[in-house]
């Protein structure tokens, strides 16, 4: 059954890409999160009369008593699990798209170049496009409301996926016009807080956090590029096997 095959391959592809992602994160992403967390609880002394000081941009606070994985092995384990789950979810979406493309394609040849293209497209859709408007945040940064950011993230992903798909698979000579879709979320603009990112921190902490935030942007860009390279290539391997077993056509 095609569905079962796709799910099994997505789990396999997700396990490989999730493991690689976790390794890359541990080398350059997680250390930045941990450095930022040192400052997360720090709040600048309220300005005179600021007794009702509100948390800048934090309209959403998590229950401090809620379960949290303990630092160390437990936290690492949950990060690995989340990475593998996310990679499997993206793998399911990617495999479904790749198999759909393979069904309507006249050639049966699928090689590593397809993997690079699909991987690059996934990176552009799921990381680059949302990150251009909403750079990955380090803990402690002020941001617009979570719901607004999630909505915009979704908007950016859907528009860039539709724009790229229209360009790649459209039949009309005007298919390049669908690329305009990619730009729309950025013209609308991502939601941002009214205050500076670290306005509620003491000045020296804010300066340090701004440096960390810049490093974090670069580090996540690299980690996600490696992740999508692995996801694109392993998914191509999976689709080749599925196509070879002649399972994609009715």
């Amino acid at each position: 059954m095609l569905f079962r095959r796709l799910v099994l391959y997505a789990l396999l592809v997700g396990a490989v890409a999730g493991l690689v992602l976790t390794a890359v994160q541990f080398w350059q992403v997680i250390p930045i999160i941990q450095s930022a967390e040192v400052y997360e609880g720090e709040v600048a002394p309220p300005i005179q009369g600021g007794a009702d000081h509100d948390h800048a941009g934090h309209d959403h606070e998590h229950d401090a008593n809620a379960w949290t994985p303990q630092d160390g092995l437990e936290r690492t384990g949950y990060t690995l699990l989340s990475n593998v789950l996310t990679a499997a979810g993206l793998g399911l979406v990617l495999l479904a798209a790749m198999v759909t493309a393979a069904r309507s394609s006249t050639t049966t040849r699928i090689d590593w170049r397809h993997g690079l293209l699909w991987g690059a497209s996934g990176y552009a859709v799921f990381w680059l496009s949302p990150a251009l408007g909403l750079p990955p945040e380090i803990p402690g940064a002020a941001a617009a409301s979570l719901e607004a950011r999630q909505l915009w993230w979704l908007f950016a992903v859907v528009c860039s996926a539709a724009g790229l798909a229209g360009f790649a698979f459209g039949k009309s000579p005007w298919r390049w016009a669908s690329l305009v879709l990619i730009v729309i979320p950025h013209l609308v603009g991502a939601p941002h807080p009214e205050v500076a990112m670290f306005a509620d921190k003491p000045p020296e902490a804010a300066a340090e956090l701004e440096k960390l935030a810049r490093q974090f942007y670069g580090a996540t860009a690299v980690a996600n590029a490696v992740f999508w390279l692995v996801l694109g290539l392993t998914s191509t391997w999976a689709v080749r096997r599925i196509v070879m077993s002649n399972a994609i056509h009715d």
Binding site: L6, D63, W67, P136, L146, W153
Partner: protein, 60 residues
């Protein structure tokens, strides 16, 4: 008699069309991504915290 038994045993996979199976795969992927990246329950948020920050999902 033999003809009847051989037609009765159709493979289960042929009952659901391939496009529908592919759509099911796609939807399952979206559900997993929603759970890992978007659900805002404190426990789920805390477990997935580092992944959400690194993958650019809006967090906090």
């Amino acid at each position: 008699m033999q003809n009847i038994t051989s037609t009765a045993v159709a493979p289960v996979s042929s009952t659901i069309s391939k496009p529908l199976q592919i759509a099911g795969t796609f939807l399952l992927g979206l559900v997993i991504l929603y759970a890992a990246g978007f659900v805002n329950t404190s426990a789920v948020h805390n477990a997935a915290h580092d992944m959400r920050h690194s993958q650019g999902f809006p967090c906090h």
